[in-house]
Symmetry: C2
Subunit: 401 residues, 2 copies
């Protein structure tokens, strides 16, 4: 029953137009290759599991279940657990001086869900969205469902090319999706000047900034950059996540939206999955009560900084000088640019034979027009693996440049 | 920052067309009234929390975190935890003789998510979807986002009005959404005859049946009805949930789809929220390994049956004879039809003054054309509350008939 393929039906059940050209994640395909144990993989985007607070989360989970199990296993409100939202609000105030009232926060099943909700709420087919070039693959996938027109602005180490931003904003995009802190995939951080100019240009227009900030806490410097929530308060939807600072497996993130936008997003969240996992909301809330999250984050930061430094040193020793590497001040990724005539996908196929993996260019570009860049994840390998993997990759690269 | 309302922006940031007429859940508004402790509420759709296996879930959660905490707190695959899918597959085989291979199952963040994914995958704006009349409010909300045309078929105690079904299927709907077992809100179950005729008529057409089955396990009889998965295997997407048999707060459900449809749904799930909460997937899997779920379900069934019987007895004693009540053979709801000239919403407002609540008609109808029906939930009240609440409601109803 239902096992054999009935070929006649394959074309009969027509999918909706919005999914006909959906980009499948190339990273997903890559990850299938890279799960082979002999391969050193810089391809994933995974936090280092050795830094997960397993015992503390277990203790918090057990405590809340013992104290209020019946309540926690029951349905709850779509908006999210209020004490958790209060803690998020308080942390924004303390860390960044941001005033984000709890009622402007919606708990999500991971911040990826925020992209789906924002796309649903704002994008009619063929309406313009501004994306970074390159951008986060998950954003490409989420927004593609809503069939927008896409305009890209090139990302350099100090943020987007401002000439391109000015031209793109003249076209009055509905949304500007950006990752201003330690961007995925480039590691770039927007300078203050660029943040200010973007906010100023967008202010009073129809454009909504979708500021995705999963890596903001993982900073290797003391510099605290301003959020668009502060610079363009009525036009910014801010996405945050516990994935990089506590655990991605618990799928708990949030969005903050101005009062005139939050209600529709709550209704859309309700239609999408009723509410976020109640146990994880309560466990994270308890974890935050019983532990010093800033101390935990500082451990992650120093570990990732050491991993980044190790990778940078190895690259200096083993990569051919023709490869340009951007060194990030935070986050989980290094970004390398190969000579223009080198196809990163060909390098990938060759590198797999040397038992090292990374993500080649095309995945990250809406228009698939750049082939010579690669993303290297440094958060999920030991220093020994980093040195050996970069040696193998350097060996491979030398065949291409 | 971001706290004051800037009225000029309220209209400037235009939402997408798809959300302009989104139905807000009236139940949500009702629940705000009914959280007042003095009110006896038959309005919610909540399982009885006293039947949640709190200790067993706590033990399972702790066990999996202690054994594989780093793995569980990490990202995982979109498709869902394979051993859990194998258990779901095995249970379908054992209970209903259904062959649903694990690779045809996608774990969801609650089965509500299945409605969002199915709507996304199949519905272009203005394409036809067939809904039950009345139908599940969450389905109305989810599908509304995709701006379909809606055709309704009236539900009686033996299932949909077949004349209406025949006429509606002639219009070649893209989807037929149904809850054939102990439907929400009516408690109705489709007869075998109607299931067979629907499957036969749909077979070989373009229509996909979306069979939502959250209550199928909560049966008060021994009769096991056939799933459309068996009757129309290439054209059925089956939704299932742990919400009514283990816990809704853990937001873990699934869909099963034929091989030619499952892949797009997986890609859409990935874009929507990456994957379902990993800890809850693993905890439920462990719970199912360490406990006898059928024994647990039999406890739920006998408790709900006793609650249903109590409500039926109370209604016989206290409701005016003009009110027609449908007695369900499973699930969580009783359905009552008032005389045609009585507006259930007016009864609701009067009942609240008597400190008893229920959900009045309009919420459940896509076309809002019926006013004289009410839904009574019996799973989340003690027998004492049921008797007293029905007494109050009978008193109120007598003023209207």
């Amino acid at each position: 029953m239902g096992k054999q393929e009935v070929s006649g039906f394959q074309t009969q059940h027509e999918f909706a137009d919005r999914v006909s050209n959906l980009p499948e994640s190339f990273i997903r395909e890559i990850l299938k290759v890279t799960t082979r144990p002999e391969i050193i993989s810089f391809a994933g985007g995974l936090p280092n599991p050795e830094l997960f607070p397993v015992d503390e989360i277990a203790a918090a989970t057990l405590a809340v279940l013992q104290e209020s199990g019946q309540d926690i296993l029951q349905y709850t409100v779509t908006e999210g657990y209020l004490p958790l939202k209060e803690k998020i609000s308080k942390r924004y105030r303390k860390k960044k001086g941001l005033e984000i009232p709890p009622e402007n926060i919606l708990i999500l099943s991971g911040s990826q869900q925020g992209l789906d909700l924002v796309g649903k709420a704002f994008l009619n087919p063929r309406e313009l969205i501004l994306l970074e070039k390159p951008t986060f693959i998950g954003a490409l996938q989420s927004f593609a469902v809503f069939e927008p027109s896409i305009e890209e602005v090139s990302i350099t180490t100090a943020g987007p090319d401002m000439e391109e931003v000015r031209r793109a904003l003249d076209k009055k995009p509905k949304l500007f999706y950006c990752v201003p802190n330690f961007q995925n995939p480039t590691g770039a951080t927007y300078s203050s000047t660029r943040r200010n100019e973007i906010a100023q240009r967008i202010s009073g227009t129809n454009t909504v900034i979708v500021e995705d900030d999963p890596y903001g806490d993982i900073s290797f410097t003391d510099e605290e950059m301003k959020s668009f929530w502060e610079l363009a308060p009525e036009q910014t939807i801010l996405l945050g996540s516990f994935s990089k600072i506590i655990s991605p497996g618990l799928r708990t993130g949030w969005l903050a939206a101005p009062s005139h936008l939050i209600r529709k997003l709550v209704v859309l969240k309700q239609a999408a999955d009723t509410h976020t996992n109640h146990l994880s909301q309560r466990a994270i809330d308890r974890y935050l009560s019983d532990n010093n999250i800033d101390l935990h984050i500082s451990k992650i930061k120093s570990a990732y900084k050491a991993q980044r430094d190790c990778m940078v040193d190895a690259i200096r020793a083993d990569f051919p000088s023709e490869v340009k590497v951007d060194i990030p001040n935070g986050g989980m990724f290094l970004w390398a640019t190969l000579p223009e005539n080198v196809d990163a996908y060909e390098v990938f196929e060759s590198a797999i034979k040397e038992k090292v993996a990374f993500v080649p260019a095309k995945t990250f570009y809406a228009n698939l027009d750049i082939n010579n860049t690669i993303r290297l994840n440094f958060s999920n390998c030991s220093e020994e693996q980093i040195r050996e993997g970069i040696r193998r990759l350097g060996f491979t690269l030398k065949k291409f440049v």
